[in-house]
Amino acid sequence: MTGAAFFITSDQFHCGVSLLVGGGPGRHRMLDPAGPQAGNIEWLYWVIFWILLVVFVLTIAGFARAAARTRTSATEMLPIVKDPEGDRRAHWAVGSAVAVTVLTLFAILVMSVITGKKVEGLTSQNPITIQVIGHQWWWEVIYPNAQADQTVTTANEIHVPVGKPIVLLTNSADVIHSFWAPSINGKRDLLPGYSSAFWIQIDQPGVYHGQCAEFCGLQHAHMGFSIVAESASAFAQWQERQLKPAPDPADPEPRRGRQVFLTHACLMCHTIRGTGAGSRFGPDLTHLASRSMIAAETLPNTRGALAGWIVDPQRIKPGNQMTPNPLEPDDLEALVSYLGTLN
C-alpha cells in the first residue's frame, strides 16, 4: 500500500511540509485555499490523507500483532503440518488485501484525474489576460492590450480583480522557472521559448505569496512574487495609475536623482516610462514606489533597503544580474528620493 504515496503530487508533499513548518497567514499555504482550484486540490489532499492514515494505522497494527505472537525457540525443529483449510484462508486474506490495495490505488488515481480536470476546467469568455515572464531571478508581469499605450508592465507584484477568471500566459527569458502560488493553484512551469496558458481565480481579497518552484540557479530561493487580489474598482484604479508615465519630479533633489539615473548604469537595464530609459533587461521601474517589496520579494520597499540594494545587490543576492553601483552619497540620496516619487 506504500505505492499510494506515488499518487500524491509533489505539490501536496511540499504543502504538507510547509504546513508542518508553518508560515504566516497567506504565505505559501495550500491548505488555506483562496480560489476554486486550490479548493479542489485541498479536497484531494485531505481524501488521500485520510485514506493513507487508515492504511498506516492498519499496517502498524498488523506489525504489532505479528510481533506480539508467541514464539517457539529456534533450536526446536517444527513439524510440517498439512492444513488445507488454513492455506485456503491465507490465500483469501492475501488475495483480498491485494484487491483492496489495487482498488484503493485506482480510486485515488480516478480522483486525481477528476481534480486535475476540475482545476484545468476553469474558462471564461472574457477573461483578464496577464503575461508572466520568468527571469533569473524576478518575474516580469505584463497586462497586454491591443493598444500599445494601454499595456501595463510591472514586476513581481500581480494585481488581479477578485472573483474573475484570469488567464496567465507564461514564458521564460532564460531557464525553466515554475510559477507557484500555493493558496491559488498548482505549479506551472515556465519554459524558455514556449508560451503556455493557464487559469487562476481568486475569490477572497488579500495578498497571496508565491515562489519559483523549479530550481533555476543561484538565487532560486529569492525569486518570490505576490498576487494582490482586490475589488474590481480598486483594480481598475490601480491599472489606471500604472498606465501613467512617471511624473516629472518637482523638487530639486529628485530632479538630480533622475539625472543620476540617466547618467549611470541604471538606464542600461531598466525602463522608466516618461524618461529616456527604456531597456527591458531588468524590471520596469515606472511605478516602483507603488510596489511593497523589491528584488523579487527579497527586501521591503523602504528607502534604506532600496539604497542598500542599489549600492551592493551582489551582497544581498549574489550572482543576480544587477551590477553594484558605487555612487557618491549625495548621488545615492538623490537617486533614492527620485525612485520614491515613482508611485
Partner: protein, 184 residues
C-alpha cells in the same frame, strides 16, 4: 609489493586531485571596477610626461568561462547584437573574423566600447561599469577564437537555439593593412 604499488598509486592520485581547481565566479567586483568609467583616452598624445594608452586588461576576465558567459548575455542585452548581430556583423563590422580596424588586444576593444569609434560605434562611457565592459571584451575576443579553448566552453549559462559562437576556431588577427599582426 602489490600493496605498495596500490598504496603509492592512491597517494599519487590524491596528490593529482590537488591540482584540480574549480572555476570561480566573481560576483562582487571591487567598487572601482563597478564604477561607470569616463576616464579612457584614445589618443596616446597628451601634455606632460605620462604616456597614456589602452588600459591593461585584468586577467580574470580573459580566463573565466563565467565572465565570457556574462559577456555573451550583456552583448545581447545591451544591444551590441543590434549592429554586430551575433558576431557576423550587419550595420556594424563582423567580430568573428580576423580583421580588426582598431586592434584585437583586450585594451583596444575596451577602448572601442567605452570611447566609441567613428562611423557609428556609440560610446558607452558613463553607461556601463568597468567590469562589464571587460566581460564583453572577453566574449568579443572569444568570437574569433582569441581566448583559450577551455575558457570559451561549448556550454552556455543561458538557453540559445544555435550552437555557441564563443567557441570559434582561432583566427590570426590582421590589422587594417590586411597583414597579420607581429607575434607577441
Amino acid at each position: 609489493m602489490q600493496t605498495d604499488l596500490a598504496l603509492w598509486s592512491a597517494v599519487a592520485g590524491m596528490l593529482m586531485l590537488l591540482a584540480c581547481s574549480r572555476e570561480e565566479r566573481q560576483f562582487r567586483p571591487s567598487p572601482p571596477a563597478s564604477e561607470v568609467i569616463n576616464s579612457v583616452q584614445v589618443s596616446g598624445l597628451n601634455p606632460g610626461a605620462n604616456p597614456v594608452g589602452a588600459p591593461p586588461a585584468p586577467e580574470y576576465y580573459q580566463e573565466s568561462a563565467y565572465a565570457v558567459s556574462q559577456g555573451k548575455t550583456l552583448f545581447n542585452e545591451y544591444n551590441c547584437s543590434g549592429c554586430h548581430a551575433n558576431g557576423g556583423g550587419g550595420i556594424g563590422p563582423p567580430l568573428m573574423d580576423n580583421y580588426w580596424i582598431y586592434g584585437s588586444e583586450p585594451g583596444n576593444i575596451f577602448t572601442t566600447i567605452i570611447q566609441g569609434r567613428p562611423n557609428g560605434m556609440p560610446s558607452f562611457r558613463n553607461r556601463i561599469p568597468e567590469f562589464q565592459a571587460w566581460e564583453i571584451v572577453a566574449y568579443v575576443r572569444s568570437l574569433s577564437g582569441l581566448l583559450p579553448k577551455d575558457v570559451a566552453p561549448s556550454r552556455s549559462d543561458r538557453f540559445y537555439v544555435k550552437p555557441p559562437e564563443q567557441s570559434m576556431p582561432y583566427q590570426v588577427p590582421t590589422g587594417i593593412t590586411g597583414k597579420p599582426e607581429p607575434p607577441k
